[in-house]
Symmetry: D2
Subunit: 500 residues, 4 copies
């Protein structure tokens, strides 16, 4: 067992268990015997196959015997053969493992393990994550929030639309895995150096078909690991997308005015010291999973290189990194799924945030609006930009009382006591908006921008004139309404979820 | 020239330039001649050294000639020798490059380049970053803010104390570089396989001494790259610590209630679309630098492996990754230095945040306080914890009006318009504190916790009794004062900055 | 310019140059104007588009002006817009960059750059590598050599068949790139947060179509980087496969009995110290390229993570890592192509090696042969294995004279002189083969194996009997013939090259 | 348990076991109580400490209870506290975990675990590896072999001297670990954000002293991970140096003419198909270990970054990557140690290789020799180089018979049969040496070099004259003697092992 119990997935452990692996090896050996019998049509081989299959069915593999034997001969596949051979009479032994090499058994078995694990990722887990995100997108289709670029409030969006963006990232990661999957539909039973020797290529084809695999022509003793690297990279991509989504939620879960947070159980404790804590520990763990996934992929990618017709440095890496990467992937999917299913969303705080952002969410629309309409006043692109920029900076100027607090730093802990006491009684100024400051032509000078007082005045004059027109004012105010700003989100719902 | 112009450092480019490298090669060749003359005491060698040194001084290296020759013979050091030899009469040529191999010139030169670059990191740049952080720590020694763990408001701290923690991380990274530096004080002039052949080890020692280096006994044709990996890792560590600090500032620069932000120039534009944006683009770039540094280190660490007495796969990697890693390091230091020097800090918002966090910053102290005092009421560790937890959850319970907004989602864009309009008129509830809710015994039931109404009542009864005692109430209130909570920060100032 | 001149590819530098990038930005801006005009059918826009397009065509972009402006406003795309706007009268300015954001220009341009670079990898370079390998496979179709697993001589193969295995690895890497390519056929012109605002999704579709791209629904301000990571990983996979092939050749180029080596120019110098050297410096460089490629990919993969609707940490990484990764890829392809085109192959040494490997290349066939035929003597699977193993160990037992040299170590340098002198006169023993030692029943005891003398005797008795049969002896000898052992290589030629 | 059983080290598993960890947590809690009692001198605390210590000693930690509790409250340290608290009467509970936070327990415990693991690496394992290499160096001090650069035979060395170079790499890696070790001698008990709150810094100092640790002033809730990254990098460096050494041995173990190989047990099987195989599977595994180590380090280095006063993404990574990195390190040390202890060395093959390399091992000395002496003939540096180069290329020219085999490729498998048959009877030409070809002036033209026949002739004329002098010939022949070439290896033995 590889992965730490906390992050382990039982199904993955089973797939990569010794028991499963040895069972798969037996499957390959039997497929080879069967295919050999079929391709040659040889009577002796046909009956030998039946006899061997029957004996092996009756005598299940003794894992402990196998381990002991391996310690003795330092070759796990030979030890497995010895375990199987010991149940056969001498005349049947001659039919076993004919012309093939241990990796003719290992490789198809390994491809099967990878296939099963990928199927598990797809079927058992993945579908639900897609569904959960789609449901969230529908649920919050009209729940407005500020989008953020660079961590700064940007334009308005709905939380539903953000869920759609997350969903699309997951789908890209999913598609990458889907695209990589055919790589493991190939394998090889072509002998010690992959050039067949006395192995009939038709036998290989038939045996692999029994195992639901296809021959890869051009293998050496092993399959080229470039085929498998793509699978690992796709898994890691999925984990990293999950980490990206988790990070977004963590950012929105920052206390003060949290927009959402992961579920917190009734008996849960956030901290041994601070009883108030509701920490996003599941989301944070997902970042750790991303770090682990990258590490495992680097191990697996290094396996692309081997000497000539192969050396065995890849073996230990694959024994560890593959199951661990799958554990990390499955755990990540499950954790995100759980967080999203129980996600606590605060639309009230989203509204507070929009209100307090003072209309800047429409600064882009405002700039476009003015860009067109100020042409007649001889103002160009740059002026429209600067007017809105100035208005935005203006509306965040603090009141005098708060300005003092901003500019004078306390010089002792006692002074800090005092200030904190004062602040507890200090009222917040009422919140303005660029909607008004521009339409009322109330721009004022600030040294934050390279602008002269005269220029500010000229802007105000112009704005006063412009917004004297009632119709223009009406159009202007529309710019700040969600129904106007979000009207094209419908396209996303249609294109991504197929709903109107 | 390697690194993209935007992130390039001129001093680093000079150090790793062809011109500088060839100059260093010449320096090694001359040091060898001089040391050889000295060690042997041979008259012919002594005078040959003087003659050669004089001729080379007069005939500076022709970089273009060298490049053309290199293209012809596919060996850059031989091409360099040819360039130098062409200025010498035949009788002097016989003295040049005696018994040594090209890497006897390359290695000391390389060590010198690394040394110069590290010195540059230390002297020209680093000292100022340390100083800037120390100054910030002093300036904001009494400026209080909420610390955050898991992105959640935790206990109170000063911004100065956070600067001290940043400073210490920088110092750890600095010390790692200091510790790795001796690794490049060694080099080798021990021949094609490092076993000397006809090279006198005394000559090596003398020549390296001229170059301010020491012999590494046990080299092959080259120095083992394990020595240099430590330097790269230390540089990367520094970049990653810078990235960590940058991330902290970015987190605090999130709009809404920014606590600090990077400087924004008067003519700067944050976005082509949204004039209101002041994006932390320098800080974000530092995260990119961290990603790059890790990549370059992975390249350099891979160089530890080479076949037997060396192969040359490391050469191209070192030509690219070392200068680029130094560019990234220097750029990161400079950018952080600039950001910190011009850091815009909002102590007013820090105060707002503390106020609005409703006293939970002292939840740990509160719990300890109750833990001791509730023993007499038969309440244990767990009860003290749960009382404070309950109070903390209580004080964040929204008012009815906001609860409605939290719980009912709009079903259309038009409904979203309406709600946003309503919210613009909605008053914020006044902000309570656990200081009062506990001392006034005003705990109330919430389904967020596994607790019964009866238990809440019993807690209130007990609290009412406890805080009936005036002296206890006074002690209690002290717990929420900065001067009480931060009194031990003095230790940090003393231990880290040496000031009282 | 990014990559070091030695490893730079001019075509890649052009694609990622400022000139090309700004040209592509202009292309996007024009496509937007055109699409906007078309979608709206607005007369003013239609004529504005024409006028603007004409003016911009006449006034090419002034890169220096742009750079200076960027330094002033700290926003490269805005600086580009300013450069373009300055050529327009005010009334036309209002039409420029309508509702869109800088990354609506950057992203399609970036996708185009990646596309061009990938096309260059495919068309200009890749095809020739495939062809060169295919030609080698045909040329050496019947040139026999020992395959090696674990660096040990394994079965027989032709050098042509090894070329086929290399070719297939290249093709897998090629297919991965082909599979990833559609990822960059998508882009976005959907505004500052990817939710369109006042951008008509139909305009996006039309504009992207002009640029030969498709809309990615679900973008934020930028395209999700998970899309591009797959491209980088595919490029890196290609470089690592090239490194694997290069390593195989290096292993075969080891002096003593080289089987092949990279071309060595007539004026080339292998070493400044040792004139005899013909070093595989190009092949070794390819290992360095692999190390670099992995580093660049790690940088690019880290870019999958960004905050919310985007932050800009990915920008610096992409400016550096993408062109550099393409340089490394193209350089690797070209270098391997050159090495393979001029590959010096020594079939004589391949034959020497086979001869001196004493028939063990058929040990697998020999074991199978005995496995079947010894059943009648009561010997099983294990015995067949041990007989061949014993024979193999026997044939490599040194003669007495050499045994002494193996077992007695010199105790001084002078003694070493003596021994080396002696050896120069020492004859090599004649080379035996397991073909004879087994068929002549000449097995003898060795303490290398867990076997008794009695058992060895019983094997010899049995073998003597078995090979008394002339027909069996004849069959046996056939096992060692290339035409028998390699008969199935034809399948590889048919499946991989489509030739019989 | 993390690491796969095959690569697991029991001592490491114990150190990182839950049982050990919880024991260490208890140790920290008790140290805090003791230090608190001592620092305050408070009677109640002094007796509480004694009582608690006694109760906990009697009631050992119930791991299963703890696990169940953790599943309930999602906080492993709180669950541990609950487990410990349940044994205490209420009046003692109030003393437990005073003012501190869970990571005040976790961090010192973690530092202790790392310390123990590092000690284990040093004491139990490392010393023996150093000793083994030193012993090999002494044993093979006079056993000559060709050194190899670029995989090509270079100058002569002893195998002992190569062992010294390996030893020095190990020592550099060892020193890096030693240098990083002090980083884990620090820890913190400074509260939830590292600013102490009501924790007395004197108590921290005293408690850490009990735990044999020192306070790190400037911690947050946790120690900065930059401290630990250096330890991981040092461990990885050690593994990569081991991988480098393993690769050298693998290169020398290539069959044909193996110079050394790893031990092969008497019952061992190298391959299920090919009984003759003695594969260097342990050495190859060490390459896999290097790949794994790099992956784990990348995970750990990513942990340098955390938000503000900490988030918990590092926890899962550390639970997995640290023990696994230690397993990989210990396993690597043990495997290399075993291989080196049982290393099978073939001095006979080393001699064969030297003999067959035809004197080129002294090409550097030969060039120097001629460089000086040909001045009088008007030949310069370049000529000396070309003469030796030509001689080296000459001596490897094949005989006619072998030239045919080199230049004509078989066109069918049957033709290959024939050629292989012929070769089995083909004698090897006698082996020449540049010692003779130069001193006998027998250089001949080759189209491998840019040289004219006339020039070759002029060289021969000059050489004939030069070596007509008996004294010069005698000096010349000395150049090829091991005792001359290796005389300076003594310096290495003296400097590295301290022996004359």
């Amino acid at each position: 067992m590889d992965m730490h119990g906390r992050y382990q997935n039982i199904a993955i452990s089973d797939i990569f268990s010794d028991r499963n692996k040895l069972g798969l090896w037996e499957g390959v050996e039997l497929a080879v015997l069967k295919a050999d019998a079929e391709v040659t049509g040889d009577e002796a081989r046909i009956s030998a196959f039946s006899e061997i299959a029957e004996i092996w069915l009756k005598n299940s593999i003794d894992i402990e015997w196998w381990k002991a034997r391996d310690r003795e001969i330092h070759h796990d596949y030979n030890a497995f053969l010895d375990e199987r051979l010991r149940h056969l009479p001498v005349h049947l032994q001659a039919f076993v493992h004919p012309n093939i090499t241990s990796y003719d058994g290992e490789e198809p078995a390994f491809a099967s393990m990878l296939s099963s694990a990928i199927e598990f990722v797809f079927e058992a887990l993945y579908a639900k994550l897609d569904e959960t995100l789609a449901n969230l997108a529908v649920k919050y289709r009209y729940t407005i929030m500020n989008a953020r670029t660079h961590g700064q409030e940007a334009e308005l969006q709905t939380f539903g639309a953000r869920c759609l963006a997350w969903l699309k990232e997951i789908r890209v990661a999913h598609d990458a895995l889907l695209t990589a999957k055919p790589n493991i539909s190939y394998s090889k039973i072509s002998g010690a150096i992959g050039k067949y020797g006395s192995i009939n290529p038709d036998m290989e084809k038939a045996a692999l078909q029994i195992l639901e695999l296809k021959p890869f022509y051009g293998a050496t003793q092993i399959m080229p690991r470039i085929l498998y690297a793509a699978v690992a990279e796709a898994l890691c991509g999925l984990v990293l997308v999950i980490d990206k989504i988790a990070t977004d939620i963590r950012l929105n879960a920052r206390s003060g005015r949290p927009l959402m947070r992961e579920p917190f159980a009734k008996k849960q404790k956030g901290s041994s010291a601070m009883p108030h804590k509701k920490n996003p520990i599941q989301l944070e763990q997902l970042e750790g999973m991303g770090r682990m996934a990258k590490g495992y992929v680097s191990m697996i990618v290094d396996n692309i290189k081997t000497w000539e017709e192969r050396a065995i440095e890849q073996s230990c890496v694959e024994r560890v990194a593959w199951p661990d990467l799958f554990h990390v992937t499955c755990h990540s999917i499950l954790v995100l799924k759980n967080v999203l299913s129980g996600l606590v969303v605060y639309p009230d705080n989203m509204l507070r945030e929009i209100r307090d952002s003072r209309g800047v969410y429409a600064s882009s629309e405002a700039k476009e609006f003015l860009k067109e309409r100020l042409v007649h006043y001889g103002f160009g692109y740059e002026d429209a930009y600067r007017i809105v920029q100035l208005a935005c900076f203006n509306v965040f100027a603090p009141s005098d009382r708060w300005t003092v607090l901003r500019e004078s730093l306390p010089g002792s802990y006692e002074k800090a006591d005092e200030i904190l006491y004062d602040v507890s009684f200090l009222k917040e100024e009422s919140v303005g908006s660029i909607r008004e400051s521009i339409s009322l032509a109330e721009l004022f000078y600030t040294d934050e921008l390279e602008i002269s007082m005269a220029q500010v005045d000229s802007y105000n004059v112009c704005l006063k004139d412009l917004f004297g027109d009632e119709k223009i004012l009406e159009e202007w105010q529309k710019l700040f309404e969600p129904s106007f700003l979000l009207r094209h989100e419908n396209t996303l719902y249609k294109e991504i979820l197929g709903i109107e």
